[in-house]
């Protein structure tokens, strides 16, 4: 799943470790989410959304588009 996590993180000048600390996950998890190798669970997606003050669909794109 494509996402804007890397861009949002870079805008705040956070490292992957910084973001991992804020989300209470490992740096490997952040790296894999950013590169689209791992899709976060719904609770983690909500935490990411709250951290950046955005809705989930503003960060993640499943490629299905708007119906």
């Amino acid at each position: 799943m494509r996402n804007r996590l890397k861009v949002l993180r870079a805008e705040r000048d956070w490292s992957q470790a910084d973001l991992a600390d804020r989300l209470l996950v490992s740096r490997q998890a952040v790296n894999q989410i950013e590169t689209g190798k791992y899709d976060p669970s719904l609770p983690l997606a909500f935490r990411i959304g709250r951290l950046f003050g955005m809705r989930i669909e503003e960060i993640f794109d499943d490629g299905a588009g708007n119906d």
Binding site: D18, A20, D21, R22, L24, V25, S26, Q28, A29, Q32, I33, K37, Y38, P40, S41, L44
Partner: protein, 137 residues
Amino acid sequence: MERAMTESWRDEARAAETGRRTIWFWSPAFIAIGALAIIGGIQAPIGWIHWSGLICGGALTLWGFIYGTAIYMRTVDEQERDANLWGCYVGMCAYLLLFAITALLDYVGRPIPYAPYVVFFTTMMTVLAVFAWKRFR
């Protein structure tokens, strides 16, 4: 305000990580002390030292495994749990494949020497390889 919040997040995360590391130390420590007690108990002549070594060592080792597992399951993140799931699943498939091959060869009258360590290490290496791939790729 944001700076203060950032430091708070970092402190909280570092404190949690330090706590996890401290706790992780005790699980292997319990297992090691328990194993030493078991070995001592086995080598001692039959008597109270023998039995207390076996019982106390067994209990300590079991507690170390239970304690370590509980801490691991509480502190692991979802991506690592996913990697664990895949590692264990593929490892189980490898074990079943080994079992099917040996059973089939035995059935057709071409039995191979039973090598429990080969089965064990093949299974464990498969689990570790898949876990590492899913976790760190």
